[in-house]
Amino acid sequence: MAKAKTTYTSRTVVLPQDNIDTDQIIPARFLTTTTKEGLGKVAFYDWRYDSDGNLRDDSPLDGFVKSEFSILVAGANFGCGSSREHAPWALSDFGFSAVISSDIADIFKSNALKNGLLPIVVDKKAHRELLKSPGCDVSIDLEDQIIKFGDGWTCIFEVEPFGRRCLLDGVDPLGYLLDRMPQIQKFEEARS
């Protein structure tokens, strides 16, 4: 697994709604795919396209240079709903490298981290400030778990330590589990 960057700096896209569920991030009708590639084009499909499949004028996720806006700031309880890993696949492929909220759903958080999409939970005060400042520059330091933005805002964020090490050191979690096969075998033998 390739090592992730220690720091990211980018501008934000803000979706202030609470409870943005995985059906919004990628509607279920796109889940018939058998690969994980190319899902960025259907990310937030119904928010971005009209019923004829044309990009909507009011799409909150278009009309800017995606490479400059790779941090998504969203309302509370982001990623609730289904366990579909297609959600982080779609967001990563769309161009996002991090999602910031006051509150991110458990399964989405776990899936996102495994795909290098940083799920960053900040306190409510910082969250309110970020929601108020679409397009602001945010700098994320994954090593020190600090984000900086706006007029001197600095805050620490929590991230699951193993997932973080996997990203920073290029550790492969499946390889890690396979390395534990002697313990797994012993466990199975003791139970049988």
Binding site: R29, E85, M181
Partner: protein, 471 residues
Amino acid sequence: MQPQSLFEKLWHDHVVVDETAESPAVLFIDLHLVHEVTSPQAFSVLKERKLSVRRPDLTLATLDHSTPTLPKGSDGKYQFASPEAEKQVRKLTQNCRDFNIRLLDQEDPRRGIVHVVGPELGATQPGKTIVCGDSHTSTHGAFGALAFGIGTTEVGHVLATQCVLQRKPKSMRIHFDGVLGKGVSAKDMALAMIAKIGADGGQGFAIEFSGSAVRALSMEGRMTLCNMSIEAGARFGMIAPDKTTFSWLEGRDLVPRGSAWKKAVSKWSTLNSDDGATFDKELRIDASVITPMITYGVSPDAAAPADGEAPTAETETERAASAYMGINQGEHFSSNSVDRVFIGSCTNSRLSDLREAAKIMRGRKVKEGVVALVVPGSEAVRRSAEAENLHIAFEEAGAEWRLPGCSMCIAMNGDKGEPGELVVSTSNRNFVGRQGKGVRTVLASPATAAASAIAGKITDPREYLTEAGGQ
């Protein structure tokens, strides 16, 4: 010895490598359920890395999300929603063949929704760890199992190693005291609970449900309650097994028999929270005051008594939800007419759910202009329902009786509503567009859904349960 909670007993029994500050626990999985939507990319990883499925004997696959619910056409073929849907079904069939996994395919008399067939076969048992690439895996916690939804990367981990990397969640216990009123079901308990703690109230927690109202539930009701844990944000929901659990499981295909059964029951009987066990959070809900519930917003916590009205929207998110749903505040819910009714899903598609719905539909007619779909959770449920002539009650009322599958809950298989339609649904999610683009979903119990189909508007089922006639 320190008193332990049910969760702690289940957890400790499956830890292969302890959790540390740096790394999650390696947790052994006793049953891995697989379906067509969240597995293909995991099988691809195994193929790329030349790995085999470590324990095909602990793996069980079914087809449910993308499968049509209409019978084969005159050409002898199922009509899939798209070539991709059919390809996905073929992919799982091929993967199961390649990796020697038992698959309940479309011809299998045991096939059905993953969270219906696992328990039905007796694959789901107390004390097991159970995972599936599906957030509603919490359903199986109803049996006193540690059951939780995982992502596709983790599906690959479990296929290859039979283990998953998992941090221990915090613990919550919710007591439901009292006796449920007439026409009130486990679904109403679930919606009342989610309304109380919020759609993220269970985030980071494993929830144990207890109390007299939980003990009084049938296994089907317990599955409904645990199924909806995830709609409160909790990956795990569970109930300690008891006589109701054991008698429901006895004799099923995959449970032990004879002396092994007795031994299993004696072990399972220890799976409960010890007196003095502590929880990070505990709360009590008086079940006796719960009435039939419905949702009026686009998050499952926007739930209120069906015999009432929508509260005032206060936040921006609530105002947007209210505008989308078109359910006017200050007006009784019954002023909202219904276009479609869906009775089914892993939440409410079991025999007792269908009986509740049939009790209201029998001898009555679905309101003209309302499309009502009844989709059993499995082939076994379908057979049992037909043996009781429930399908006749539905069909005579004007509802459609379909083949098992997830159907309109996730609307992947072609079963869906049209833009703008109001759908009263026994499923689990009222998200924007979940049941079809622009569809407005109202979550409810089977009784409430059936009553709403008859009345053609959102209806408290108790109106029909007190009337003479019908039955």
